[in-house]
Amino acid sequence: MTADAAKPEASRRDVEPPAAERTTQAVAEPASVAPAGQPPVERPFVALRPRLSPAEKGSRLFFLVCAVAAMGQMLLIMVFLFGEAAGLFLGQDGQPGVSLRDFFLSEDWYPTYDPPAFGALALLAGSLSVTVCSTLLAGPLGLGLAVYLACVAGPRTREWVKPAVELLAAVPSVVLGLVGMAAVAPFLQNVLNLPTGLNVLNASLILTIMATPTVASLGEDALTAVPKDIQDASYALGATRWETIWKVTVPAALGGLSTAVILGLGRSLGETLVVLMVAGGAAHIPLSVFDSVRPLTSTLAAEMGETAIGGRHYQALFALGALLFVMTLAFNLLAWRLSRRWRSGR
């Protein structure tokens, strides 16, 4: 840098002429060559900045637009959800708005009555009940399957079980809903002697079938990402296989495993068709797993078809959608944070 400042002529020439020209100039102008007896002057590195061709510029712009559009979609969803939902709370056409207090703390959901009631508490409780119950089942089962795949199964078994589990995650939820209606509901009704088999328990069981492959697949990824050497160190200390899994591998993968469970939980929370078909549809706060519930998602799917676009019921359904969106977003951000911390920790 000091040489650069001392010889502005030399450094300027470095930028432009090709190598051959530079050599001739160096011979012609001995002033730019370092005097004998001193180390040669280090030439500053100058990055070449070629002019971009239109195709290069255009393609770059196109890809950037695509990426920004993918992000912008998220913002657009928020704008539409909250925009439509705002109408319910602000009121319009001379009708008073619904207070946030009524929306969150009232369990009366009578959108088509006159006057209508838009209390989301019972629907929220419905969503939470099936989500919590199914996560209590799908969490342990999915993690058990993940441990089996990552640490217990032989390579041959793993080779076909892992893709099979991923394939099961693709089963359409409407098919599982049908199984819940046609097989699980009559079974529960007869065996437990219930008035209806369409209840929290049934929905939770079907959601468990749906969420377990997700938890297992993500959990397995987290477990296989644990470095082999710390597991080998555990074996070298004389630990058994189970001791290694329980005290070394699982703690090391804890961030990824909790991400797996949270994403499974998010999937249950946002699942629509299963709860629409097998949760029963009664809008009240469940007192036991044998009660029927009407989760947020199934309310949306069941009622949206019959509302006038822009009306109060329509807005109320968007408010439910916004609530659902905020909840799943919170879980996703939590999962994102956990997986980032877990990745940066290694």
Binding site: S53, S59, A70, I77, G144, V152, A335
Partner: protein, 290 residues
């Protein structure tokens, strides 16, 4: 805990724990297999060539499901027309151009969270944007756009992973030979990464075919007497057909065979696509020369 010689008690506990894990895995897999077998056994008797090729008759209680098959294929393929260009473009930007910074973090955060947004919320979004605001109405077009946006994160994630798996030496060799970024991408990186990117798209196609909630209020109709002749027409679809027969109809018990038959067709379509993608991906990994 002192790790020393494995005592008999510790060995027993180890064996017990291993069997518990195996039992849990076995129970889970067996339950899932049972569900699939249940659908297959009940559906098989209903599925025939007539079932696949005819229109529904007599208030959906008789006849086939051809318009629903057609509608689902149309919706799924149409959604790919949205998500493939947009998703591949975004993936190329993220993998090839993006430098770490707030914009890239924002894009990643947006796409990652998009993947977790419930599908019914996409339905609401499609309803308010495409159906109401753009005035496309309840139509094939609105459904394709909604499903395209829904599958976008899947497509982006798979495409980006595939792009990242092409060795840096490919890129460097192309640039060293004087190619600019775009030439390197078009002539070297894309040919190497495209099979993997398309595999991800097939997975997304399967997902689009199986989705119900987003199309209930953007595209689907319970019955159409003819195939859609424009993209602005409502369509029947396999998932909504199952839902309508099983949960909305007045003759639920009577149409059980149709419900299971339609489920089996949908399951075969979705799992077939996923299976194809899985096999292609495994082949690609094995046959890769780099």
């Amino acid at each position: 805990m002192i790790f020393g010689y494995a005592t008999a008690a510790r060995k027993r506990r180890d064996a017990l724990a291993m069997w518990v894990v195996r039992a849990m895995a076995g129970l889970t897999l067996a339950t899932m297999a049972l569900v699939l077998i249940y659908v297959a056994v009940n559906g098989l008797s209903a599925v025939s060539w007539d079932f696949l090729s005819q229109f529904p008759r007599d208030g959906l209680t008789k006849g086939g499901i051809w318009p629903a098959v057609f509608g689902t294929l149309g919706l799924a393929l149409g959604s790919m027309c949205v998500s493939i260009p947009l998703g591949f473009g975004a993936a190329i930007y993220l993998a090839e151009y993006a430098k770490p910074g707030p914009l890239v973090t924002g894009i990643r955060l947006g796409v990652a969270n998009l993947a977790g947004v419930p599908s019914v919320v996409f339905g609401l979004f499609g309803l308010s944007l495409f159906v109401a605001l753009f005035g496309f109405g309840r139509s094939l077009l609105s459904g394709c756009l909604t499903l395209g946006l829904l599958t976008l994160p899947t497509v982006v994630a798979a495409a980006e992973e595939s792009l990242r798996q092409t060795p840096a030496s490919f890129r460097e060799a192309a640039l060293a030979l004087g190619a600019n970024r775009w030439q390197a991408i078009r002539q070297v990186i894309l040919p190497a990464a495209l099979p993997g990117m398309l595999t991800g798209a097939i997975l997304a196609l399967g997902r689009a075919a199986g989705e119900t909630a987003p199309i209930i209020f953007t595209a689907a109709t319970a019955f159409s007497p003819a195939l859609p002749d424009t993209v602005f027409a409502e369509v029947m679809a396999l998932p909504t057909h199952i839902y309508n027969l099983a949960a909305n109809g007045s003759r639920i018990a009577e149409t059980r065979p149709q419900q299971f038959g339609t489920s089996l067709v949908l399951l075969a379509l979705v799992l077939g696509l996923s299976l194809a993608a899985t096999i292609i991906r495994a082949k690609l990994r094995r046959g890769r020369k780099w």
